[in-house]
Symmetry: C2
Subunit: 327 residues, 2 copies
């Protein structure tokens, strides 16, 4: 079997997740990892992958089929997306929802000019959640859509806690309200306020001698981040933070509550329960890298989203096998 | 807006559901309903749709864009699928899983010969459940897949009950075992026997003077249908059967329990809770009718399954709108 040759651009949690995910997919071959850091100082998780400086990527045109972009959405991807789309097929998990149309246009232009194919904004939200929102709405046009996130770590909220005076460390979990989920699943179509949808649970390590009451109060009243939510604050030891809260779990629910024909209630629900958010996003990236490669082979160039990719392109199985085993 | 002109072939519960679903989708126009019965004796649910004899369908070539086939999978669809694919774009919910490859081949041949596009075996299983099984497996290749059905009415089991001596009427619900679902969701990856996955609940109307104990015993020990399951039998009045059990609810769960990278447990779950099984299947058929029409406009002819259709084709929204509103 001819393997799909891929490169990873950026080697944080997501890049490491992609390296590991590729090991579960024998139709891929990892050519190398591209980094801004000094390549000779790097060591890959699986131990035997070469590192190259990101500026040398152009030397790999024709040697790599798909570049998997694993940088951050704030500054890396908006620049790297079009840059790499001019040289390679690419896949990314750009997740700044409001700026996706603009990003799509910039990648699409470069990809089309160079006959490459880029699948943008994959992962789970945007990504699988978007797919489910879209399909459910197309099937049940009369209805209401709900997205709940969690239980999972929010990096932004965890950072906000850690900036408070007297806080040594901490982590914040966004938790969907079970009562709200139940009302949606029961077909009540409720209008839900922010505080009715999610609560926030914080695990905080205080500095020695810090005023814990004051820290808790500062968290709970922090505008935008916590003040609109029911917020619970637990103080824990540094050890406990390390042993119990080192994983990056996440997940959530997309529910469409619709009505068909004779006022029949129809509920479509999709949910994820992830022990590792970056590893899961990485697994989605790898499946869409397979799609980008195949779409390109068929001459379909330009920027694509999860909406544009026929599901069969994600699987290494043949059409006949899919039909027999999974339909 | 130019409307998609459709015809309905077969006017049972599914055909009626399609007629109703089309009313929620203003981009369609229902040209007529094709039936084997005498057209002049028919009356449509919405009251103003013309009926035509099925043998006159050929007169509508060029006047109907997509035929939505609503016959049964046992004998109607295997014959009607290729027959109509030779004349029109079609969509159907053929659900005899084991025979799908053979059916696909027969429709594909006729559709390709005539430049038509047919989306076969849509609905929810096969259909949305298949889509979720496939996508989840592609993303988490290391893992285990579980499908549970229910709570819902099984026509086959209900029929089996009604054939028992002394039974006047009855309905059977297949119910997934909550304990099994919980074990799967907890990531235990259990091996589940038939009786651990589902139970069966029967509501039976006995004839006057019939031996209820004997009826219950006959149901519970019926080979293939009930003997492998935990089965509960309730005796109810004819009135109660009519008022409480007239709907055709169904649904189920597709869960993939996978492991990524560093042994992280990742759970993907898709579920449906449907008050009306035929109306939901009808809603799915209508969305795929839109896809069949568009694929054909693009010159993609032949038989397709849900795996071959890019999700965007299901929605009346433009690419730009989808990206902005749903990604």
């Amino acid at each position: 079997m001819e393997k799909i040759r891929v490169g990873i651009v950026g080697y944080g949690n997501l890049g490491k997740g992609v390296e590991l995910a590729l090991q579960q997919s024998p139709d891929f071959e990892l050519t190398g990892i591209f980094t801004r850091r000094a390549p000779e100082t790097m060591q890959s998780v699986t131990g035997n992958v070469p590192f190259f400086h990101i500026d040398t990527a152009k030397d790999y045109v024709g040697k790599i089929d798909v570049m998997i972009l694993c940088g951050g959405s704030a500054t890396d991807i908006p620049e790297q997306g079009p840059h790499f789309a001019a040289m390679f097929n690419t896949v990314d998990s750009y997740d700044t929802h409001a700026k996706i149309p603009e990003y799509h246009a910039s990648v699409d232009e470069k990809a089309k000019q160079n006959g490459n194919t880029s699948v943008i904004s994959t992962g789970w939200d945007p990504g699988l959640f978007s797919l489910n929102r879209m399909i459910a709405e197309a099937i049940l046009p009369v209805g209401k859509e709900y997205t709940f996130w969690g239980k999972g770590v929010s990096q932004g909220h965890s950072d906000a806690i850690r900036r408070i005076e007297g806080v040594k460390g901490g982590v914040q979990y966004t938790i969907p309200m079970e009562s709200a989920l139940e009302r949606v699943r029961a077909g009540e179509d409720p209008e839900l306020s922010t505080r009715e949808k999610h609560m926030r649970e914080c695990f905080v390590v205080a500095e020695d001698g810090a005023d814990k009451d004051k820290i808790a109060e500062t968290i709970k009243t922090m505008p935008n981040y916590f003040d609109e939510y029911e917020t619970v604050v637990h103080f824990i030891s540094e050890d406990e933070l390390k042993t119990e809260h080192a994983r990056m779990p996440h997940g959530g629910f997309v529910i469409r509550s619709g009505k068909s024909g004779r006022d029949s209630k129809q509920i479509i629900e999709f949910s994820l329960k992830l022990q590792s958010n970056p590893e899961f996003t990485a697994s989605v990236l790898v499946a869409y890298a397979r799609a980008a490669y195949r779409l390109n082979k068929e001459g379909q160039s330009g920027a694509k989203t999860v909406f544009d990719v026929a599901p069969a392109y994600l699987s290494p199985k043949s059409t006949a096998q899919l039909m027999k085993e999974l339909l």
